[in-house]
């Protein structure tokens, strides 16, 4: 995350905040989120999510490939994170690679549980062909709390992803023929109800905060990132920062994270449904 300088007095001011942070939020409040899907026309699904100053663009492309030998009846998801050098000066050159790999690996881990997404929906021909979803994440601006922003954007992009429907034509000897539907609107969508959202909790003093700003991240020495699925289950946990955490505080942080994650999931699904039913409105895009 971006390292900014703060004076001792500013850090003391942030530490002493008793459920009233510098911008008036309570410890469990998120900053305003602005969401838009369907921006990238040549991707099967896309979304752009802006959480205050953090801006993330996600594109999902679907391709046919052979499934893994140990999981012949399932498709798979492949994540790739690119920290653009425009996001923050630290990402210049190869500076953003470490962070990109971390986010990528943690996303992979949080989606591994069978509770999140039903990968058998992506299977086309058992053992031979399946859909692979390539999720490409581009971090355009870094304003603190990247994990949460990325996970919400990925969830929105997966919600709008349209997978072409495929029919298996008659077997021609040993080779089955796959027939792609002619109609571009004949697609199916994934059930993203249980797709996880990541919740970052940073520990400052004796309390922990949701959605830290870069200044608050600088004041804190430890935190956890928790992947919470739609059914309020925790699928992955990662500790960030160099400080230590007491086991009791870790347990209470996990509990808070699952509650916050459930609320975020619910509100996000509601908004995505609203956008879908609103139909074809004018795309706002990047021109604002």
């Amino acid at each position: 995350m971006a390292e900014i300088l703060l004076s001792e007095a500013e850090k003391a001011f942030i530490h002493h905040g008793d459920d009233l942070r510098c911008d008036g939020r309570t410890r469990l409040d998120y900053r305003p989120i602005i969401l838009e899907t369907g921006l990238v026309s040549n991707a099967s699904g896309s979304s752009r999510l802006r959480l205050a100053n953090s801006d993330v663009l996600v594109g999902v492309k679907v391709e046919l490939a052979s499934p893994l030998s140990e999981k012949p009846l399932e498709g798979r998801l492949e994540f790739f994170v690119d920290c653009s050098a425009n996001a923050t000066p630290e990402f210049e050159g190869r500076g953003g690679e470490d962070l990109a790999n971390e986010i990528c690996r943690f996303l992979q881990m949080s989606y591994m549980s069978g509770d999140t997404i039903n990968l058998s929906e992506l299977s086309v021909l058992a053992g031979q062909q399946c859909w692979v979803l390539y999720v490409d994440i581009l971090i355009l601006e870094c304003g603190g709390n990247l994990y949460d922003t990325v996970s919400l954007a990925v969830k929105s992009a997966l919600y709008t992803t349209q997978i072409p429907s495929i029919k298996v034509a008659t077997m021609d000897g040993d080779q089955p023929e796959l027939e792609l539907s002619e109609d571009p609107y004949d697609t199916k969508r994934l059930n993203t109800q249980n797709v996880p959202c990541l919740v970052t909790l940073m520990k400052i003093g004796n309390h922990y905060l949701v959605d830290p700003t870069p200044e608050e991240e600088c004041c804190s020495s430890s935190g956890v990132v928790v992947a919470v699925s739609g059914s309020k289950k925790i699928t992955a946990v990662r500790k960030i920062g160099s400080g230590s955490l007491h086991p009791e505080s870790l347990v209470s942080m996990l509990k808070t994270a699952s509650e916050v994650g459930a609320v975020v999931n619910k509100i996000l699904m509601k908004k995505l449904l609203e956008e879908e039913t609103a139909g074809k409105t004018q795309k706002v895009g990047f021109m604002r």
């Binding site: 300088l5 001011f13 008036g24 305003p32």
Partner: protein, 292 residues
Amino acid sequence: MVDIRLASEVPLFDIVADSTEPKHLVTPGSLITKETGFMRGHGTYMQDDCLYASVAGVVERVNQLISVRPLKSRYHGEIGDVVIGRITEVSQKRWKLDTNARLDSVLLLQSVNLPGGELRRRSAEDELSMRQYLKEGDLVSAEVQNIFNDGALSLHTRSMKYGKLSQGCLVKVSPSLIRRQKTHFHNLPCGASIIMGNNGFVWICPTLHEDVAGGFVQNLETVPHADRQAISRLRNCVTALAQCKMMIYDTSIMHAYDASINAGFEIKDLLLPDKITEIALMVRKQFEMEKE
């Protein structure tokens, strides 16, 4: 707890802007004039006897001088400006500060007041204990004393009102939104003080009392809750005014503060895009009423 909006629901911030179009907006590379006989100022270049703009901004013409004032640029220092800077480096006999300008500003050791108020020549011991006065990350309020040849600003804190800043909240806005006033230090009636640096850094802190101002003492006691609320609300008001591109000075900040209290907005509500435009429109209306 969580507020998610669709991009189509977010209001445009420039509904608060003047309906009159600014005269002659240009983008880099656009032609300003083909006539000769004009002197070219900042933000322009000459090619084949034609004058082109090199920055995006408004064309300004003073008699025969044509220049382009950019819409968004780094802070351009003038002598006598009050600035707020963050120490980035401690070097030999000087500190380097980040003031949102093109180059780091310089604060020379001989330009600061020594604790205790002594007036003497700085010794080698003073040089070695520079870090005890100001170290990396500290915020200082200072005045521009001089401008070096390369454009770097030389600052000084030779007055009790300048010096290291204590607890509070820093807001960064565009330098062009800060109006040049007689005084940049204001003790607002709501229980907080505000320092508006010409470089776009606005510092909001609990009310500064006359006897504790300046120097190198930092007060690390807990700030009372009511003061924290005032500071947070002011911070959100300043950010709201900056997003709607309104000029920031003590009157506009107080109008925004009063408008947010009268409308009954909670402090965290002022982060939402529609509340920001509402506040800006209310401040606008207040100014129009005052003019009559």
